[in-house]
C-alpha cells in the first residue's frame, strides 16, 4: 500500500507557498488564479558525495565532478542557465562536452516555454547515455524556492532562482566535502568541487560574482576545457556576440523589422494578416509561398525583401498586398548556386554592392511584367510579404562548405574565417558560419545549425555542429540523409535491449499446455500457412492460409507477427519504438524500429519454426463476401516463405497440386474478387514512380542497375488480404474503443488541387478529369489513354497522385465520424494492423485488438485520447520523413548508377515533359523514376497559356520546334559534379526533337 500523508504547509510560509492573483484572458475575462506550492526537504540533489539528502537510486553526479577543466582543479559541475540551452544546445549535446550538468527545474520550464523542439532535445539529452545530467527540482526544495518580488521581471526572477540554486548547491557540496572546507590562508585555489553557473548574461554574472557564486561565460568556459578547439566551433553565433559581432547590426538594413507579436496576433484575428507555413520554391530561390486557410491559393512571396528572412518550414505571418499588385508565380528557373557565385562571406550587408543576385530578378522582372500583361487574371496569385514569424522551425542542416567563399589569401590557414555553407536541400538559403577548420571541411558534408538572421545580414548566421565525412562517400551520404529527414538512427540503448527476452536467439515457443504463452492461444500449427514477400525480406510480418470448408465456403486467414507479446507498454523498448515510429528502408540499409532480434528473428514468421501470431480468420463465400470474421492470438508454423515470383510460378504450374499451392490458388481467386469489389466501390489505382536498385553484392553495395519494380499477381494477392485484415480490424477496434482507436484515413483532396492538371489535360490532350469523387476520378483516369503510348496513363496517374493529400493516422475520438474514410481505398474505415514489426501504429492496433477480444486488458495510456493523439502525431511525422528518406536514398543510387553507366557511354532515355518554364523544361524519365530539368540558355518563346515552349531553330532557315507538356522527348542524362557545391547533380540535355546542348 502506498504511504498516504497529509503535506503540511505552515501558514507563516504562505508568502512563498501560495499565490492568488487575477489574470485577464485573451477574451477579456478576468480569471482568479489560485496556486499553491508545497516545499520539501526531500528533493534529491543527485550528488554521490551527499549524505544529507535521501540517497537517490542512481546518483548521477560523481564524487568530484569533472576534474579536467583548467580553472577548476578541485573538480566541478556545470549549471547552465536557460539561454545556454536556448542558444548553445549543440555544444551541450556534443560528446566532447563531458562535465556533469545540474539541470534546474526553473531552466527546464523556461526552455519549455520558449521552444518546444529545444525542450524535446533537452529531455532527450538528459536520457542520453554517457551524459551525466541531474534534474534538480529547485522550485520544490524549501531552501531554493523563491517568489517574484515586486517590480522584478519574470526573467530576473528566474535568474535569481538560478543563482540561489547555484549558491545552495555550493553550500551543499561543502557539507559533503567537509575536510576541504577550511581555507588555507594565502591559497586562492579552491580545492573542493564547485558548481559553476554557466551564463552568457553579463549582468547576471556580475550579480553572481558579487554574491560569491562561481560563474563563467560559455566561451570562457569552453576555452579552458579539454577539447577547446573542436568545441569552440560548436559555439553558436549568439555566443560570440561580445566577441565583435555587434558591428554588423549597424550596417545597411536589408530587411524590414518584424511587427511586434501582439500586433501580429491581433492582425491574424482581425483577418488583416494571415498565418501559415513558409514553403520555399525549389526551382526559384527568390520565391516562396505560404498556404493560408483564408485564401484558395497560397500567398506568393517574391524576392528576398518580401520573404523577409523566412526559412523553409517556419510559421510566418504574411500581409497580402492589394489585388492590383498580385502576380503570377515566376516561370523561370533561378538557381542560387549559379547566380550567387561571387558573394563574399565576410561582409554581410554590404556584399556585392553591384548586387549581382538582384540583377537577375530585375532583368527577369522586366520580362515578367510583359508576360504578365498577357496572362489571364486567373493565374495571378495573392501576393504579399512576411511581416512576422510566429515560430522558427530551424534545425541542423546538412551542408557543403562553398569553396569560393574561403579566403584566398590563406587557403590552408587555421585562422578563424567566415565561410558559406550551402545546404543540400534546395529549399534553404546559404548559411554563413565562422570556423577555424574551413580548409579541412572542404569537400565534406557538414552539419550546420542556423542561430539567427539579423536584419542587416543577407544570409542567416549559423555554427558548425559536426562533420559527416567526405561528400559522395556512401557513409556520409547515408548519414546526411538520415539527419536531413530526422531519422533516429543511433543503435538501441542498453535499457532497450534489456527488454528483450533473456533467451535471446534461443527463444522458442514453449511446449503446449504450460499455460503462460499458450493462454487463450489457438494452436494453428497444423495449418498450411505460407508467407509471400519481396525478395530478400527478413522481417516477415505476415503469412496467409486458405482452405475450403465443408459448407462450400472458404476459410482464409491472415497471420501477423505477435509483436505485442514481446513489446509491452511502458517499457524503454516501447517508448523507443514509439519515438522511431517506423522502420526506415534505404537502398542499402534498414533502420529498424525494433531491435533486430525481434524484427528479423523472434517476431519474423520464418518458415518451419513455431512463431506467435495474431490471426484474423474469415469465413468467405466463394464470391468473397464475408460471412464472419474472428480474431485470435495463435501459434503458427509457416510451411514456406515465398518470394512474389516463386509464388507466382508455383501457382501457375498445373502439375503442382499440394495443399500449399492449392491454398495460394484459392487465395488468388478470392483476391481477384476482392479487388474487383474494391474497384467497383471506387478505389483508386494510383501510381508512383517506383524503381528498384540492383546492388552488385551485399558488401560493396555498388549499384549496378536500375529497373522498374515489377508487379505480379501475387503482389496484389497479398495486398488484398492485408487490406481486408486492416479494414476488419479497424471496424473492430473502433467498435470497442470509439474514443481512442488508432485508425488511418485519407482525406479527399480539395478539387482546386486538380485545377492545373485538369487544365493541362484539357488543353494538351482534350481529356477531362472528373474529380467529384474517388470513383469518378478512377474512371476518368482509366480513360486517359494514349493508344501510342502506354506509359502516358501511368504518367497521368503519377501526376494525379501528386495532387492528393497524404494519408494519416488519427485517433478516432479526435475527429468527426464522417471524416474517417480512406479516399484512395474507398473504404469507410481503415487502420494499419499488418506490419507491427516495422510500424508503430500497428503495434497500437494490436494492443487495442487484443483488448477488444478480451485477451488482455487495455493499457491505461491507450484509454487516454491525449496520449494516443500525441503518439499518432509522432508516428505520422516519422512516417512522412521515412518515405522521403527512402526516396532520397533511391535518388542517390540512381545517380550513382547513372554515373556507372555514363562511364561506359552516354545514357539516353525517353522522357515526358511534365512542366514548362520560360527557360527550361521539367521532364520525367519513367524508366528511371527520375525527374530532371532541361535548361535553355538561349531565348525561347514561352506560351504559358498552352504550357508550351518554342525553341527557335539554330540555323537561319530551319524550323522552330515547339515542345509542350506531355510531349515525349529523348534526353541525355549526365551526372556532373557541381564545382561550387560538390553536389553530384543530374544534368539532362535534350537530344530530340532538338539537341539542346548548345541552346
Amino acid at each position: 500500500m502506498p504511504h498516504i500523508v497529509i503535506k503540511k504547509r505552515p501558514s507563516e510560509e504562505a508568502v512563498i507557498t501560495q499565490r492568488k492573483f487575477f489574470k485577464k484572458t485573451a477574451r477579456g475575462k478576468v480569471i482568479k488564479v489560485l496556486r499553491e506550492r508545497y516545499l520539501r526537504d526531500d528533493v534529491p540533489c543527485g550528488l554521490a558525495a551527499c549524505r544529507a539528502c535521501p540517497p537517490p537510486d542512481d546518483p548521477v553526479l560523481s564524487h568530484y565532478g569533472d576534474l579536467g577543466h583548467a580553472a577548476f582543479p578541485g573538480g566541478h559541475y556545470v549549471l547552465p542557465d536557460t539561454n545556454v540551452f536556448l542558444s548553445q544546445m549543440d555544444l551541450i549535446e556534443s560528446p566532447l562536452f563531458t562535465p556533469p550538468i545540474v539541470l534546474l527545474q526553473t531552466v527546464v520550464d523556461e526552455v519549455r516555454h520558449r521552444s518546444l523542439p529545444l525542450y524535446n532535445r533537452l529531455t532527450a539529452l538528459a536520457k542520453t547515455e554517457g551524459k551525466a545530467v541531474w534534474l534538480f527540482y529547485n522550485e520544490y526544495r524549501s531552501e531554493t524556492a523563491i517568489v517574484r518580488e515586486e517590480d522584478e521581471s519574470p526573467n530576473d526572477r528566474n535568474d535569481r532562482a538560478i543563482r540561489t540554486a547555484t549558491a545552495w548547491y555550493n553550500a551543499h557540496l561543502a557539507l559533503a566535502h567537509p575536510q576541504s572546507a577550511p581555507r588555507i590562508p594565502g591559497q586562492n585555489q579552491v580545492k573542493h568541487p564547485q558548481v559553476v553557473l554557466l551564463t552568457d548574461d553579463a549582468a547576471n554574472r556580475e550579480i553572481a560574482q558579487r554574491d560569491g557564486v562561481p560563474c563563467v561565460s560559455v566561451r570562457k568556459y569552453v576555452e579552458g576545457a579539454k577539447d577547446a578547439t573542436s568545441l569552440l566551433d560548436l559555439l553558436a553565433a549568439a555566443g560570440s556576440e561580445d566577441a565583435g559581432g555587434q558591428g554588423q547590426g549597424q550596417g545597411r538594413v536589408l530587411y524590414d523589422d518584424y511587427l511586434p507579436t501582439p500586433t501580429l496576433l491581433a492582425g491574424i484575428k482581425a483577418g488583416a494578416l494571415h498565418q501559415g507555413h513558409f514553403n520555399a520554391n525549389q526551382y526559384n530561390y527568390l520565391e516562396g509561398t505560404v498556404p493560408v486557410p483564408a485564401l484558395a491559393k497560397p500567398v506568393l512571396l517574391v524576392g528576398r525583401a518580401n520573404m523577409n528572412r523566412a526559412v523553409q518550414g517556419d510559421v510566418v505571418v504574411v500581409e497580402v498586398f492589394d489585388e492590383r499588385e498580385w502576380r503570377a508565380p515566376g516561370d523561370a528557373v533561378v538557381d542560387m548556386d549559379a547566380t550567387l557565385k561571387n558573394d563574399d562571406a565576410d561582409d554581410s550587408g554590404e556584399e556585392g554592392d553591384g548586387d549581382d543576385d538582384e540583377r537577375v530578378p530585375l532583368a527577369e522582372g522586366e520580362r515578367e511584367r510583359k508576360a504578365l500583361e498577357k496572362k489571364a487574371p486567373a493565374e495571378k496569385q495573392p501576393t504579399g510579404r512576411v511581416v512576422g514569424i510566429i515560430k522558427r522551425n530551424w534545425r541542423a542542416y546538412v551542408c557543403h562548405i562553398a569553396p569560393t567563399s574561403l579566403s584566398s589569401s590563406a587557403p590552408s590557414s587555421l585562422s578563424l574565417q567566415t565561410v558559406f555553407a550551402t545546404p543540400v536541400s534546395r529549399l534553404l538559403p546559404r548559411i554563413r558560419l565562422r570556423t577555424r577548420q574551413a580548409p579541412a571541411l572542404l569537400g565534406q558534408k557538414v552539419l550546420v545549425t542556423i542561430d539567427r538572421w539579423a536584419r542587416g545580414s543577407r544570409y542567416p548566421e549559423g555554427h558548425f555542429v559536426r562533420a559527416l565525412g567526405r561528400a559522395e562517400s556512401r557513409e556520409a551520404e547515408q548519414e546526411s540523409l538520415l539527419l536531413e529527414f530526422e531519422v533516429p538512427y543511433r543503435p538501441f540503448g542498453r535499457a532497450v535491449l534489456g527488454c528483450l527476452p533473456v533467451e535471446g536467439e534461443g527463444w522458442v515457443v514453449p511446449p503446449k499446455g504450460e499455460g503462460g504463452v499458450w493462454r487463450e492461444r489457438e494452436d494453428l500449427r497444423e495449418l498450411d500457412i505460407c508467407s509471400i514477400d519481396p525478395p530478400g525480406c527478413q522481417d516477415i510480418d505476415d503469412a496467409l492460409h486458405a482452405r475450403p470448408l465443408p459448407n462450400g465456403n472458404i476459410e482464409a486467414g491472415v497471420h501477423i507477427a505477435d509483436v505485442s507479446h514481446f513489446v509491452h507498454p511502458d517499457t524503454p523498448m516501447d517508448s523507443e519504438a514509439a519515438a522511431r515510429g517506423t522502420t526506415v528502408y534505404l537502398v542499402d540499409k534498414r533502420i529498424d524500429m525494433l531491435p533486430a532480434l525481434l524484427g528479423t528473428n523472434l517476431c519474423s514468421l520464418r518458415p518451419h519454426v513455431e512463431r506467435l501470431a495474431f490471426s484474423a480468420i474469415w469465413e468467405l463465400t466463394p464470391e468473397a463476401d464475408i460471412v464472419n470474421v474472428r480474431f485470435t492470438k495463435s501459434v503458427i508454423a509457416s510451411k514456406a516463405a515465398f518470394e512474389y515470383g516463386e509464388a507466382q510460378i508455383r501457382k501457375d504450374d498445373p502439375n503442382l497440386t499440394d495443399p500449399l499451392t492449392q491454398g495460394i490458388r484459392l487465395l488468388n481467386t478470392l483476391a481477384q474478387k476482392l479487388k474487383a469489389k474494391r474497384m467497383a466501390a471506387g478505389a483508386l489505382n494510383l501510381a508512383s514512380p517506383e524503381v528498384k536498385i540492383h546492388l552488385d553484392s551485399s558488401e560493396s553495395s555498388d549499384p549496378v542497375d536500375v529497373e522498374q519494380k515489377e508487379l505480379r499477381e501475387t503482389n496484389s494477392l497479398v495486398e488484398e488480404f492485408m487490406l481486408l485484415a486492416n479494414i476488419s480490424v479497424a471496424r473492430r477496434i473502433q467498435e470497442s474503443f470509439p474514443q481512442t482507436a488508432v485508425l488511418r484515413r485519407h482525406l479527399p483532396p480539395p478539387s482546386t488541387n486538380f485545377e492545373k492538371l485538369q487544365d493541362i489535360l484539357r488543353k494538351r490532350r482534350g481529356l477531362t478529369l472528373d474529380v467529384s469523387s474517388s470513383g469518378a476520378l478512377a474512371d476518368s483516369l482509366d480513360k486517359c489513354l494514349d493508344p501510342d503510348e502506354p506509359a502516358f496513363n501511368t504518367l497521368v496517374r503519377i501526376m494525379a497522385t501528386r495532387c492528393m493529400l497524404s494519408a494519416e493516422y488519427f485517433c478516432s475520438g479526435s475527429v468527426s465520424r464522417d471524416t474517417f474514410g480512406h479516399y484512395g481505398l474507398a473504404s469507410p474505415i481503415y487502420t494499419h494492423f499488418t506490419s507491427p514489426i516495422r510500424r508503430y501504429a500497428d503495434v497500437l492496433a494490436h494492443r487495442q485488438l487484443a483488448a477488444a477480444i478480451g485477451y488482455t486488458p487495455l493499457h491505461p495510456s491507450l484509454h487516454s485520447k491525449a496520449h494516443v493523439e500525441r503518439v499518432v502525431d509522432v508516428v505520422n511525422r516519422r512516417h512522412r520523413m521515412a518515405q522521403m528518406a527512402g526516396r532520397a536514398s533511391v535518388e542517390f543510387y540512381v545517380g550513382l548508377a547513372l554515373k556507372g553507366r555514363g562511364e561506359k557511354g552516354e545514357v539516353t532515355e525517353e522522357a515526358f515533359v511534365i512542366r514548362a518554364f520560360r527557360n527550361g523544361l521539367g521532364v520525367f524519365v519513367s524508366k528511371l523514376g527520375l525527374e530532371g530539368l532541361v535548361m535553355f540558355k538561349r531565348d525561347t518563346q514561352f506560351d504559358a497559356e498552352n504550357y508550351a515552349i518554342t525553341i527557335p531553330s539554330s540555323d537561319a532557315g530551319g524550323k522552330d520546334v515547339t515542345i509542350s507538356v506531355f510531349d515525349k522527348v529523348t534526353v541525355r542524362i549526365e551526372v556532373e559534379k557541381d564545382k561550387n557545391t560538390q553536389r553530384g547533380r543530374v544534368k539532362m540535355v535534350l537530344v530530340s526533337p532538338v539537341d539542346s546542348s548548345e541552346l
Binding site: I4, I6, L34, E36, R37, L135, P860
Partner: protein, 261 residues
Amino acid sequence: MGSRVEILNDGGFRSDGRRQYELRDISIDFSLQGTADGSVTIHHGLTQVLVSVFGPREAKSRAQTIHDRANINVEVNIAAFSTGERRKRSRGDKRILELASTIKSTFEPAIQTHLYPRSQIDVFIQILQLDGGLLPACINGTTLALAAAGIPLFDFVCAITGGVHSASPMLDLTTLEENDIPHITVAMMPKTERVTLVTMETRLHVDRFEEIFGLAVDAGKVIHKEMKLAVQARTSSLVSSLGVGSKPEGDRGMAMELDDS
C-alpha cells in the same frame, strides 16, 4: 495537451510540489458563526468552505416533517468570488441543487436521525474559495460542523478525490488537475469502512477504478485522523475554558461518541 503544465513530471512531482499520494494541507477552525449551533471553516489546500449547522429544531413547514426521524436540509452557496471565473449563481442553479442533494444523501446514513422525529437539521454551506476538491471539503466540513453542534453521528464521514494520470493514480486533486484527468470522489465512514458516496463525472476505465477507489478509502482514514485530532483539540479547549477540572461528566458523551473508532 493544451496546457503547458505537467500533471506529473519525471521526478514524480505534481505541479504543486506534492507527490502522488500526498494530500494537501487541511486546517480546521471551529470558531462559532452567528447563532449557529455548530460551525466550522475548513481550509483544504486553497479550497475554503464554511459550514454552519442549525438544529435539530422544529421543522419550518409541515411538508418537510418526517414522523419518525429528522429531516436534513442542506443548502449550498458558492460565493461569486470563490471560483476562477466570477459568476453569480442563482439559488435554483441545478448543479448547486445536485451538490446539496448529494451531501444530504451522504449524511442520511451517518446522522442518527431517528433520535429526533419530526424535526429538522439545517446545514448551510458557504464556499469561499475553490481550488479543487469541492465536494470532499463540503462533506468533511459538514461532518465537523455536525459534531460541533452536538448532533449524534454513527461515524465520521471522510471524503477525498482520487484521479489517474495516464497510469499513475493520484490523490486530492487541485482544479488544475481536475480539469485534466479523470477522477472520482469517495466518502467513507472509517469505523465500519462503509462507503456512503462515490461519484464520478468523467470517464474512467473500470480497471483503474478499482485501484483509485481502494486508494481513496485508505486516504479517507488518513483524513479521519486529522479530523479527529481537530475535534479532540476543540473539545479539550472547551473543557478547559469551562474552568472545570479534568474529565467533566457532562462532556464525556460527545467525546466518547467521537473517540471510539
